[in-house]
């Protein structure tokens, strides 16, 4: 069981860590100072959650690996985040649509995880619910502003949705790990999370006057460590200093 718990915890951690890493790229380059602050806040909240999850994953594994060992010393094939979060920032519509699609999944997931039979996961999720609620509200507001703002913002938001939709299937993929975690009462039923996600997406897109893309081909592979080509560069950038000076304190 502990290897399933480890795999599951790392998936949660990797999603949020890589999203945080992407959002951190915006720092100093936001469309307006208030948004720069908001984006950094988002990156910080995600990083905080990722650190809790990685530390816990290290404990579950029991080999003495720290949050930093897990973040800095794993390669692409060992990272199990969904491909959605590794997609480039693009314009602000892409960044916000990416976050919105993720937030609409992340909030119900965290809410449900507070009832996990695994006390640590429940506690970590408990800490994240308030932030996740705020993130979803803020990204929803931007989607609505874009959709119902100017013609240009509407087009950009719709284009971002079309581009990123293919990466949403992966959020709800089931496999043996998830099944076992769910039947042990440690992870929520993913179908119920998908239902909540779908409802939020429909509501927000309707208010934004944006069209929900058709469910065509869905990308897969992230959970097995099969990533897009972006992933190698994300890790190269993130890890290079740490790897260049192995075993030292920072």
């Amino acid at each position: 069981m502990s290897s399933k718990l480890l795999t599951y915890t790392l998936r949660l951690a990797d999603d949020i860590l890589i999203l945080s890493q992407r959002l951190g790229e915006w720092c100093g380059h936001g469309p307006v100072l208030e948004e720069d602050i908001a984006l950094t806040n988002r990156a910080l909240d995600h990083l905080g959650e990722a650190r809790n999850l990685l530390t816990y994953a290290g404990q579950v594994e029991g080999k003495g690996r720290s949050e930093d060992d897990l973040a800095y010393l794993r390669m692409e094939r060992q990272y199990t985040n969904v491909k959605l979060v590794e997609q480039p920032n693009g314009d602000y519509a892409h960044t916000m649509v990416r976050s919105f699609l993720f937030d609409a999944y992340h909030l119900p997931l965290m809410q449900a995880l507070t009832k996990s039979k695994d006390e640590q996961l429940a506690a970590i999720a408990g800490k994240s619910v308030k932030e996740a609620t705020y993130h979803l509200r803020a990204s929803s507001e931007w989607i609505i502003r874009f959709g119902d703002g100017t013609e240009e913002s509407h087009q950009r938001a719709q284009a971002a949705l079309e581009d990123l939709w293919t990466y949403t299937g992966e959020l709800f993929e089931g496999d043996a790990v998830l099944e076992e975690m769910t039947s042990a009462g440690m992870a929520p039923d993913i179908a119920s999370i998908k239902e909540a996600w779908s409802k939020t997406v429909d509501q927000v897109l309707a208010e934004a006057t944006l069209k929900r893309p058709a469910d065509a081909f869905m990308m897969t592979g992230g959970r097995k460590g099969l990533h897009s080509e972006h992933m190698g560069f994300i890790l190269a950038e993130m890890q290079h200093v740490t790897r260049a000076y192995p075993g030292v304190e920072w």
């Binding site: 307006v32 602050i37 602000y92 950038e237 920072w250």
Partner: protein, 313 residues
């Protein structure tokens, strides 16, 4: 004519009595201009300063350091916001103030025209650059213009936090591996002199200083602040075993201060004139963020207008 003269006398009397000047109070044009220039420069420095440090967010060598750096750069954005608001109390809009930065008309602290080349530079900036900024800002907490003084009180608390965090990065590197220590020393070597330049020209060459002191915008001269900074920082460097890159540096028993070498004012003037290592990149980055963000700001305005109209209907 006599009226203005009376007003000026009243104004100066108020300042001499240590009363704050508030936005609605009468003030001489030159006082207003001087403050708009100073506060907006200060605001721009906070915002441009996010760039050299933001440069290392994706590469911070531990998750803890990454979180601390994110929070720091976020604080600097907040400082920029308070200060743009303080400028607005003097009747200049934020758009106008920012346009002056983007067009290259307004200045910001030249220190941010130097590149961050290694992780240790993040330590050096916190320790030296925030450290030098604090010297100025502690003084400005008592500046005569109320909104500026109040913004400074909030900002100072965060800056001293930044200074401690930066010093801690340097301390850890200095007692780390030989490569880490070398990285820390190299960062100190590169940032030391530019940090001293942050205090501005010598008192003898400082055109705005005398009037600023009379109006109590400033309360200590550039040279006094610089000396206090040097005295303090030399000791901090000693504690962590790094050496200050100044062969002329030595303790003077008589003055109870450190004597130190000559600042390269040619370099200073060059960077101020736009020829620093990163002047072009910094301005280009600010302009790109502004231009790329135009449609976002327009969308937000358009949506707010639609919403207000629907509410009214």
């Amino acid at each position: 004519m006599t009226d203005v003269k009376n007003l000026e006398e009243l104004f100066q009397a108020k300042i001499d009595a240590e009363q704050k000047i508030e936005p609605k109070d009468w003030m001489p044009d030159a006082y207003r201009k001087n403050l708009i220039r100073q506060i907006s420069q200060h605001a721009h420095s906070e915002v441009v300063g996010m760039l050299p440090e933001g440069n290392w967010i994706t590469r911070a060598p531990s998750l803890k350091r990454k979180a601390i750096l994110l929070a720091k750069v976020q604080d600097e954005a907040g400082h920029g916001l308070y200060l743009y608001s303080a400028v607005e109390t003097m009747g200049t809009s934020r758009e106008q103030t920012i346009d002056d930065l983007l067009s290259g008309k307004a200045k910001y602290s030249s220190i941010f025209n130097y590149p961050t080349l290694s992780w240790a530079d993040i330590g050096a900036i916190g320790w030296l650059v925030d450290g030098a900024a604090i010297m100025n800002q502690v003084m400005l907490c008592r500046t005569s213009y109320g909104p500026y003084a109040r913004a400074m009180v909030r900002i100072c608390k965060e800056e001293s936090f930044h200074q401690r965090q930066g010093y801690e990065i340097m301390a850890v590197l200095a007692k780390g591996s030989p490569e880490q220590k070398e990285m820390a020393q190299d960062a100190l070597n590169r940032w030391w002199w530019p940090s001293l330049m942050m205090f501005g020209p010598t008192d003898a060459n400082s055109p705005h200083s005398e009037q600023s002191m009379k109006w109590k915008i400033k309360r200590q001269s550039n040279d006094e602040l610089r000396q206090t900074f040097i005295d303090r920082t030399v000791q901090q460097a000693e504690v962590i075993g790094l050496s200050i890159p100044d062969p002329d540096l030595k303790w003077n028993e008589e003055t109870q201060h450190y004597d130190w070498g000559e600042i390269d004012w040619t370099e200073f003037n060059n960077v101020v004139a736009g020829n620093g290592p990163c002047n072009k990149e910094r301005l280009a980055a600010r302009n790109k963020a502004h231009n790329d963000g135009a449609w976002v700001r327009e969308a937000a305005l358009a949506y707010a207008a639609k919403k207000a109209k629907r509410k009214a209907a």
